[in-house]
């Protein structure tokens, strides 16, 4: 699987959420993973996604497999990238906070 792993921060490059960042929460098979923004932060809702639609970033957060949106949000808050995510989301008008 390489760099796509649980806790990896990615950018979606296809579809309505293209350009938004998300976190991998579960590996489904070699083609699909479950991701979440979480929606309240970046506007990416919890969904299954093809790994071809994701570009991994060099940031990994510490979450367990199948972590809930709240757990992911808490884990993100302790990282340096959180402020950047908040800023980007505001500029894109996404996220439901």
């Amino acid at each position: 699987m390489g760099v796509i792993e649980v806790g990896r921060l990615c950018v979606k490059v296809a579809g309505r959420e293209a350009g938004r960042k998300c976190v991998v929460v579960r590996i489904i098979d070699k083609n699909f993973v479950e991701i979440t923004g979480p929606k309240s932060l970046t506007g990416v809702r919890r969904r299954r996604a093809n790994v071809k639609h994701l570009v991994p970033l060099p940031v990994k957060i510490d979450i367990s497999e199948g972590a809930s949106d709240d757990e992911v949000l808490e884990a993100l808050k302790s990282t340096a990238i959180y402020e950047e995510l908040v800023r980007e989301t505001k500029s894109k008008g996404g996220g439901v906070s």
Binding site: G2, V3, I4, V11, K12, V13, A14, G15, R16, E17, A18, G19, V51, K52, H53, L54, V55, P56, L57, P58
Partner: protein, 104 residues
């Protein structure tokens, strides 16, 4: 004779159709131009998921019926959008290893 509201630029605004009159003459009738299909701003291919038509028709359609509901929808094709987004992710100094392709 009343003045033509389109003036000397009529030919640019309307398309011309040759019509045979009952008297045997051939005259030109000016009709509305047909709108062209939307094209990708980067590669020039026709965009999918877009509609064309006179304004009277387009105005009645919902926004989601006129263009794909994604960033740059109705402006870039899906492939060019993907290239752009991958380029941006790398441009920010992020990892170049990507299963999304477009880098190899």
């Amino acid at each position: 004779m009343p003045e033509d509201p389109f003036g000397p630029r009529k030919r640019l605004k309307k398309r011309r159709v040759a019509v045979k009159t009952p008297g045997g003459r051939t005259v030109y009738h000016y009709r509305r131009k047909i709108h062209g299909k939307a094209k990708c701003a980067r590669c020039g291919r026709p965009l999918t998921g877009t509609r064309t038509g006179p304004r009277s028709v387009m105005a009645k359609l919902a926004k989601s019926e006129k263009r794909p509901n994604r960033p740059y929808g109705g402006y870039l094709c899906s492939k060019c959008l993907r290239d752009l987004m991958i380029g941006r992710a790398i441009g920010e100094g992020w990892a170049a290893m990507s299963p999304a392709g477009g880098l190899a």
